[in-house]
Amino acid sequence: MSQSVKDRVIRILAQQAVLEPIDVSTDHSLEDLGIDSIGLVEAIFSIEEEFDVEVPFNANTPQDSAFDISSVAAIIGAVEGLIAARAA
């Protein structure tokens, strides 16, 4: 069975944070993981490549973006939403 969306998002974020996936919890924020703004942009690129989606994210105003990045769980939920929207 292929990896779940959760596992795939965690793998991307772990790679960006230079951590093992097992050390990334869904409760973590990006700040907890040490992912800065440029790291986030790179992670979003990886998510777009991995899931073939367009992430609505503007690095100038991340707080206003439709894409919730407040925690690992929020990012997983947002990605699942994008995948569902693409399938619809």
């Binding site: 790679q15 230079v18 440029i38 790179e42 979003i44 690129f45 777009e48 490549e49």
Partner: protein, 402 residues
């Protein structure tokens, strides 16, 4: 006016991954030119170049660093690291606040552009990696050198095609001589041996398909190379006070513009740059014994350069040793003057003049001692390094034995 010492040098190029390896290769007359190993080489008409071999970026850098460092930035960082280590300098406090990095490049992150144009045009992809811009920008090398070494003073890139390195080092010389900065890391870097980079040069029809033979009657064009060299230019008293090993003194620099043609060189522009550097250094032509020529192996450059040297040096031209090391390391474009300055350091410091290899037959239009094929032992007090760029921009440095 301050005196300017060179207190460190570093390089990676087709002849070696260090200064010592490069000097040994230059002294041995080795040739770094070979078949090009790159994607779609079978679609190229020109299939030779002086590539840096035995280099694996994964051995030098982390994934995050590679995401940000184009090959030209990687080369510059490797050369700068060696140069700083050799100098023994640590950039802290006021020294860090006032020191900088001035790095020449012509193409900047051309490989990054090439790869990403491929993705969007050829492969039809609709997104590229977020770091394409910071990776390809011409100042990426200067910026990363400043960040790694904590240089917080004047840093920037200089781009004047094949004279980029000499213009950069000339600016560094001016900056240290004037007292504006105590130390500048300077030189140049180029990595345009990618499919698009070579295709562009093919278009000019000035490339050789077999070898670069500067000043030789049988020459048939230039051969591209790649690589970087970076030097520590340091205010002389600062270097002397800390007991630094001074490799050579930078004594003069001049730059001129032909203001005539975008590709054809001018004897007058070259001669004014050479004589200007001597005047700036307060050196008589007769005191010069070695000239590292621009010597590209094109008919236009070689004849014009020889005529310019004859014009400036008169009868003394017959006593000069004039070699082009491009036959060995290729034309490293924006990094070439920096790589070639290594030959000047070898002449001044080790008393070994690098040869012009591949020389088969004298060209009556280049009636100079081009140090054919074999290196020569000689005591050299003053050496010049010529660079004459497309666009008619000429830059000549004068160095004296320390």
């Amino acid at each position: 006016m301050k005196r300017v010492a060179i207190t460190g040098a570093g390089t990676i190029n087709a002849l070696g991954h260090t200064v010592e390896q490069t000097h040994a290769a230059m002294a041995g007359g080795h040739c770094g030119v070979g078949p090009l190993d790159l994607r779609d080489a079978d679609r190229l008409q020109v299939r030779i170049g002086a590539q840096v071999k035995g280099y694996d970026e994964d051995e030098h850098w982390s994934r995050q660093q590679i995401a940000l460092y184009d090959r030209f930035t990687q080369f510059a960082l490797i050369a700068a690291e060696q140069a700083v280590a050799a100098s023994g300098l640590k950039f802290e406090g006021d020294l860090a606040d006032r020191s900088g990095a001035i790095i020449g490049t012509s193409g900047g992150g051309l490989s990054t552009q090439d790869e990403n144009f491929r993705l969007v045009y050829e492969d039809g992809k609709n997104r590229v990696h977020p770091f394409v811009v910071p990776r390809l920008m011409a100042n990426a090398a200067a910026s990363h050198v400043s960040m790694i070494h904590g240089l917080r003073g004047p840093s920037y890139a200089v781009s004047t095609a094949c004279a980029s390195s000499n213009h950069a080092m000339g600016q560094a010389f001016h900056m240290v001589r004037s007292g504006a900065a105590p130390v500048i890391l300077t030189g140049g870097s180029e990595a345009m041996l990618c499919f698009g980079g070579i295709k562009a040069w093919e278009g000019l029809r000035v490339m050789s398909r077999d070898a670069c033979r500067p000043f030789c009657a049988t020459r048939n064009g230039m051969v591209q190379g790649e690589g970087a060299a970076v030097y520590v230019f340091e205010e002389w008293d600062h270097a002397a006070a800390r007991g630094a090993d001074i490799l050579a003194e930078v004594v003069g620099f001049a730059m001129t513009s032909d203001a005539s043609d975008i590709v054809m060189p001018s004897q007058d522009g070259a001669a004014r740059a050479i004589s200007g550097a001597l005047r700036d250094a307060g050196i008589a032509p007769a005191d010069v014994s070695y000239v590292n020529a621009h010597g590209t192996g094109t008919a236009a450059n070689d004849r014009t350069e020889c005529a310019a040297i004859a014009q400036v040096f008169g009868d003394h031209a017959a006593n000069l040793m004039v070699s082009s090391t491009k036959a060995m390391h290729g034309h490293c474009i924006g990094g070439t003057g920096a790589v070639e300055l290594l030959a000047c350091l070898m002449a001044l410091r080790d008393g070994v003049v690098a040869p012009t290899i591949g020389h088969q037959k004298a060209d009556p239009e280049c009636p100079l001692d081009v140090v054919p094929n074999d290196a020569r032992d000689a005591r050299v007090e003053v050496a010049l390094s010529n660079a004459f760029a497309f666009g008619g921009l000429n830059a000549v440095l004068a160095l004296r034995r320390a």
